[in-house]
Each structure stands twice: as structure tokens, then as C-alpha cells.
Amino acid sequence: MDSFLLQIFSGLANGSIYAALGLALVMIYQSTHHINFAQGEMATFATFIAWTLIEHGVPYWLSFFMTVGIAFVGGLLIQRIFIKPVERAPVLNNVIVFVGLLVIFNAMSGWIFGQTVKAFNSPFPTASLVLPQYISGHQLGSLGVTLGVLLVVFLFFKYTPIGLAMRAAAQNPDSASLVGIPVSWMLALGWGLASTIGAVAGIMMAPVVFLDPNMMGGILLYGFAAALLGGIDNPWGAVVGGFIVGVLENILGAYVIGTELKLSVALVLIVGTLTLMPNGLFGRKVVTRV
């Protein structure tokens, strides 16, 4: 029973990361109807920036917030410079731009920061204050941080005028421009926010899986699975989906199929959800775009 609970808690901790990634993916999907394949690599790059700041003696939390700020601006600029020109182009062109960004970010991570695996220290105490036999200090801390970020994002969208404007621009860009919302800038803001969330996910993940340019490759897959499971147009579904995927990954890995096939589990989840439950668990619209 003990080890089972351990897997559950560990799954929840990982799940919060997948939830964050899933949320970032859904946010971009909702406003642009495109899937940001480069999300993982952008998060990795941001994590490297954080690592560099820490290595140069900047205190952890200051580095954290500086990186988050840089990620926000970076995401915004990427939307303005790279994504905007192909906004109205066919899907394939967009996919290729995203793939191009993926490749560039991955290469830049390797080029600037080197290919060697780096250790990333956790700011949290090793032993958890709560239920130390089931969960480590870092897992609890990272769970807290990601939930905190998700809460802030939720409040932002629900209660601030800009949050409302962003939701409007995502749902109905034509009407949004008719009330004076600069739709294009809302998209850029969305990218900035998604980028921020991705950076947080990366920084929380690095102490666990160690930092190298390919850190997020497989994890991004879980983010996709989370987003699809929750319904690709439902941000909070993605959050729930993330936790489900996290727990499922651990349970299946420990008791059913062994840890080496974890990515294949994600693959099956993705293809299965797309084929059998295209709305996910909580999605509203049926989107069969051909």
C-alpha cells in the first residue's frame, strides 16, 4: 500500500508539471487553433537561462522571477516576429514554422549552454514538511509552485479586463476587434503567458530529470496527452488531464508495463484519445478539421 501511495503522490507531482504544459498548449491552441510543437524546447531554453543566472550567483527566487519575465517577453516577441506572418497561411505552413522553432531552440540550447547534462538544485528542503514518507520536499514544493501559477492564471483570466479581452479574442476574433480589442496583441500576450507557464514547468522539472537540451522532449508528449485528454479547447480540462496522466504514467510504469515504455504509453493515450474521444473528457466542441 505504501509504495502505491508513493506512486500516486509522485504521479501528482509530475502531473502538476504536465498540467502546466498542457495548459500552455491549450492557451495557444484556443487563441490560434494551432499546436505549439516548440513549447517544450522553449521551456528548456528558459530553464537554461535560469540555470545560468543561478550559476552566476543570482539567488534562486530572483533567478526564477527574472527567467519568468524573460520567458514572457520572449514568447511575446516570437509571436510577433515568427507566428504572425503565417497566421492566415495553411496549416502545414504553420506546423513547419513551429517545427522550425523547435529545432532552433533545441540547437540554441546546445550551442549556447553545451550538451552536457547539468545538475539543477532544488530550492526546497529535501524532506517534505507534510507526509514525508510519500513525497519528497521538492515534489511538494513543485506541486505548490505549479498550483500557485495555475491559480494566478485562473484569476487573471476570470477577473481582469485584459484576461476577459484575451478570452474574447481567442473565442471570436472578429467580434473582439469590433469592440476595439487589438486582437493581434492579445495573441502575443497569450504566447507570452504560455511561455511563462512553460518556463515554470521546466524550472520545476530540472532538479528531477537533470538539465540538458533534450530534457523536455518526452515530457512535452505528456503535456500533449494532458491537453487532449482534457479537451483541447478546455484549459482546466488540461490541468485535470495532466494530473491523470501523471498518476497513470506512474501506476502503469510501476505495475503494468515497466518504466521503459512510458513514452509509448503517452503515444497510445494520444492516438487513443484523438480517435475514440476527440473531445477529451471535458471538451465542448467537436473539431473535425480536415
Binding site: 479581452a165 476587434s177 476595439g180
Partner: protein, 236 residues
């Protein structure tokens, strides 16, 4: 100064041209209607004013040449567009839709007051203030769309086929509200309508469009009473 002056206006959807040199103007305070058959370019004209289609030619709004302005700038000048199909944010609540209408405004207290005034004018919206807009009936959504537009405190209200798909009683109600808005709030209106008789009863001035050009214009009362024009162009 005229509220709006349009000269030699052309408009395109991609490579397809829809307006072929439109000339018209609007005076302050009146209701002008644009009539014509399907595909005549009525909706396109409204879109041209808001710059949501590609145009060439002159558009002078409140003395400023707006033909190259981005849409949000034109909105800030006081132009509210109620598009065809209502354009409500169906996944957002009624209240959120109204708040969005005031997006460009800075005066928070007045915005709150204005929302109350909209509820007074449209009691049915008040009942459903927290409901998702998509669950409202057609007539209620039309009221919501007009309400949202009014939240801007517009100088010019553009309406695209407000009668579309609505039962006659509701349409009557809405047209009375529109008259009221024009008289009480002194909002100038440009109304696109397929239902010519309704439009001519409400409007002061009318333009008739055919394949992207103005073929007839005049006081609404004149056109209304001219049987031959009605028969030839308006089908009644």
C-alpha cells in the same frame, strides 16, 4: 461637418471585388438605411467603414481620413458595429459581453452605470446576466448585441440586418428600441436591412445598392411613397 463621407469606395474580399465606387454621406443624428438585394454589397459597406475588409478610396469620419486606420482605432472614435449574425461572444456571460463593449473606455463608474441602463432598457438581459450568451434566444442575442454596442457610448451605430431570423413581434420590439436609442441617446445610425419596408419606416434617408454601387438615394419618406420605385427596386 458631416459625420461620415465616403467617396469612390472600393472593397475586396481577397481578389474578389465587392464594392465598385461607392459615394454616400451621413449627417449627424439621423438614421440612414442601406437597402439592396443579397450580394449587393451592403454588409461589405459596413465592414469597409470599420476596416475589416481591404478598401481603396476615401472614408472621412468625423473629419478624419480613416481609410487606413486599424479597426480598434475606428472603434475608439466611437463607431460601434453590430455585425450580421449578432457576433455575440457565445461562450461568455451576458454581463461579460456588455463589459467587453466598454473595453476601450476608461471611466469605470460610468461603465457600471451604463450596464444598469442597458438592463433597464432590456429587462430580459438582466434576468440572464450570468448566463452564457450562446443559450439566449435569437431576439435576446440581438438585444445583447445592441446593448454591447451601446456600451461604447457610440457616435455612430452600424447595424447589419437586425431583423434577420427573428419573429415579427420581436423585430418590432427591436426596431422600436432602435428608434428610442436614436431619439433619446441621439446616436446616429447606419442600418443595413433586407426588409425594406421596416427600414424605410424607421430611417430618414436611404441608399439603394446594386452590385457594389449606389443606384438610388433619397429621403426615406419619398422612396416609401413612390410606388414605381418600390415595385422596381424593392419588390413591394
Amino acid at each position: 461637418m458631416k459625420l461620415l463621407e465616403v467617396n469612390a469606395l472600393q472593397a475586396w474580399y481577397g481578389t474578389t471585388q465587392a464594392l465598385f465606387g461607392l459615394n454616400f454621406s451621413l449627417e449627424r443624428g439621423g438614421i440612414t438605411t442601406i437597402l439592396g438585394a443579397n450580394g449587393a454589397g451592403k454588409t461589405t459597406t459596413l465592414r469597409a467603414i470599420c476596416q475589416t475588409v481591404k478598401t481603396s478610396g476615401d472614408i472621412v469620419l468625423l473629419g478624419q481620413s480613416t481609410s487606413r486606420y486599424p479597426t480598434d482605432k475606428i472603434v475608439r472614435m466611437g463607431v460601434a458595429h453590430v455585425p450580421d449574425g449578432r457576433g455575440t461572444f457565445t461562450a461568455l456571460t451576458v454581463q461579460e459581453n456588455l463589459r467587453l463593449g466598454a473595453y476601450t473606455r476608461r471611466d469605470k463608474e460610468m461603465v457600471a452605470q451604463d450596464i444598469e441602463r442597458i438592463y433597464t432598457r432590456f429587462p430580459r438581459l438582466k434576468e440572464r446576466f450570468n448566463q452564457q450568451a450562446g443559450t439566449l434566444s435569437g431576439g435576446e442575442q440581438q438585444m445583447l448585441a445592441i446593448g454591447r454596442a451601446l456600451m461604447l457610448r457610440p457616435t455612430l451605430l452600424l447595424l447589419d440586418e437586425p431583423s434577420f431570423g427573428l419573429a415579427p413581434l420581436i423585430v418590432q420590439e427591436i426596431f422600436e428600441i432602435m428608434k428610442n436609442i436614436n431619439e433619446v441617446d441621439q446616436v446616429s445610425m447606419l442600418l443595413v436591412e433586407q426588409n425594406a419596408s421596416l427600414a424605410l419606416n424607421l430611417a430618414d434617408y436611404a441608399y439603394l445598392l446594386e452590385t457594389g454601387k449606389v443606384v438610388l438615394s433619397g429621403a426615406a419618406s419619398d422612396i416609401r411613397s413612390d410606388e414605381s420605385i418600390r415595385r422596381t427596386y424593392l419588390g413591394y
